[in-house]
């Protein structure tokens, strides 16, 4: 299960031209504002059409402008977690969690609701509405909702950016569990180096619409060797 991304797109005064690979584990997409992270997210999720490019997730081509392939967002099965959570306010937590599962193909393997509720500690929240959740709880529900749609990969766009430090600390362990247990490639967009340091197994750094650095981070090696390696350098901004 790997995600391949190659994109080029042009806006007024800005050109994006990137290619990278996200293996299983958590691939952090980092870089300053305006580096093109949001465009990459939009193109992978199918929310925008790049001028040219190719996106392949778990062997399935989602986008290939050369061959005229463009899979609409609702058939991509890219589980998205957005900065603002985007939970449906008119549904309970339980209904939010089951929303995507209802549309997912029945035959596909995927986690069971009970497993996801346990993994993310959602049991006490199930009957509530999103308006009655804290920011951290909302993001945990958003994680569970994306996971239960049986996605081919998970896309997280600054999922912790709107949370304070305490709430971040509350959600981080759940993302780690997801990374280690779901077996899905996770593309994780972030500004915060502490988060990336803790979560990433691969780091792709964008600058001015190009890939400035891409490195596989060997977490065991990092722990034993405190000196800066390639990924460490790209992260210490």
């Amino acid at each position: 299960m790997t995600l391949l991304v190659r994109l080029s797109h042009a806006f007024a005064g800005f050109a994006l031209d990137v290619a990278f690979e996200a293996p299983p584990g958590l691939t952090a997409l980092v870089g300053p504002s305006g580096a093109g992270k949001t465009t990459v997210v939009g193109a992978v999720a199918g929310l925008l059409r790049p001028r040219a490019g190719r996106v392949v997730a778990a062997g399935v081509t989602l986008l290939d402008t050369d061959r005229g392939v463009w899979v609409p967002p609702h058939r991509r099965r890219v589980g998205c977690v957005f900065q603002e959570g985007r939970l449906f306010p008119h549904l309970t937590v339980r209904q939010n969690l089951l929303y995507g599962r209802w549309f997912a193909p029945r035959a596909e393997p995927g986690p069971l609701p009970g497993e996801v509720v346990d993994l993310l500690g959602l049991a006490p929240l199930l009957a509530r509405r999103p308006a009655a959740l804290s920011g951290g709880e909302r993001q945990r529900v958003a994680l569970g909702r994306a996971l239960l749609a049986r996605p081919r990969l998970l896309l997280m766009d600054e999922p912790l950016a709107s949370l304070d430090e305490a709430r971040k600390a509350e959600v981080l362990p759940y993302i780690e569990r997801l990374r280690d247990r779901s077996g899905l490639p996770i593309l994780y967009v972030s500004h915060a180096s502490a988060e990336v340091e803790r979560l990433a197994t691969t780091v792709v750094r964008l600058e001015g619409g190009r890939v400035a650095a891409a490195a596989r981070e060997d977490r065991t090696l990092r722990r034993n060797r405190p000196g800066p390696d390639f990924a460490g350098q790209s992260l210490s901004r």
Partner: protein, 232 residues
């Protein structure tokens, strides 16, 4: 209660309720579609559609009624077709009164629904898409529930407007007691005969009560549905 109004007056009130109910229910699906198209789609002729929808609001009602008569009269292009193919006659029937009321109330309905669709966060719809919902499902499970307060308000407003419609109705279907004489037509008819002032007053009171009731209901339902949607 029945003794308070004469049978003929009751007939007018009940006819108005029937006309307004059908006008509202029958135009609601089209109102939703047009409001959604105006709020969310870009297509050639969008300005024209918007203008057409709002036309009955600006035209003198008698002009709208005349145009309906020209088009839907038994010798009109649409009216003739409907009569020949399905045996449906609208002119000078209560169904024609419902059509006239629906056309006149349509701009108000579309406006209320359009505003509420525009206020639905498009990011929630995009999120539903990434979870596997196709556009029609996104509309049914996300957009429609979230804009429901506006839909209810638009429907009630349209109902109230349809209850009160006079100009286009009397031009298109006339004012035949028991068939097309709605509440406003009956008031007007009473005012034309000597000594009809008392009956007119009674009907005016009914009209005021219905209008106030519709407004109060609209407020109450809007608040309840709004609170439900927001999860409070």
């Amino acid at each position: 209660m029945t003794g308070w109004l004469t049978p003929a007056e009751w007939q007018a009130v009940l006819l108005s309720l029937r006309v307004a109910t059908w006008a509202t229910l029958a135009s609601l699906p089209l109102g939703l579609l047009v409001a959604y198209a105006l709020a969310r789609w870009d297509f050639p002729g969008k300005g024209l559609l918007n203008g057409l929808v709002h036309l009955p609001l600006i035209l003198p009602p008698v002009v709208t009624g005349y145009l309906l008569l020209v088009a839907f009269g038994t010798r009109g292009p649409v009216g003739g077709f409907l009569r020949d193919c399905c045996g449906i006659v609208l002119a000078f029937r209560w169904t024609g009164a419902a059509l006239a009321a629906a056309v006149m109330a349509f701009p108000l309905m579309v406006r209320a629904i359009r505003l509420s669709i525009e206020s639905v966060d498009g990011r929630l719809e995009a999120a539903a898409g990434t979870l596997g919902a196709s556009p029609p499902w996104v509309f049914l499970t996300v957009t429609l529930p979230l804009c429901l307060p506006g839909v209810v308000a638009g429907a009630i407003l349209a109902f109230a407007k349809a209850m009160g419609e006079f100009g286009a109705t009397i031009t298109f279907v006339s004012s035949i007691p028991g068939q097309t004489q709605t509440l406003p037509s009956a008031i007007y008819a009473q005012l034309q005969v000597p000594g009809g002032g008392e009956a007119a007053t009674r009907l005016v009171l009914v009209a005021i009560a219905v209008a106030m009731g519709a407004l109060a209901l609209s407020e109450w339902v809007g608040r309840r549905v709004g609170a439900w949607v927001a999860g409070r």
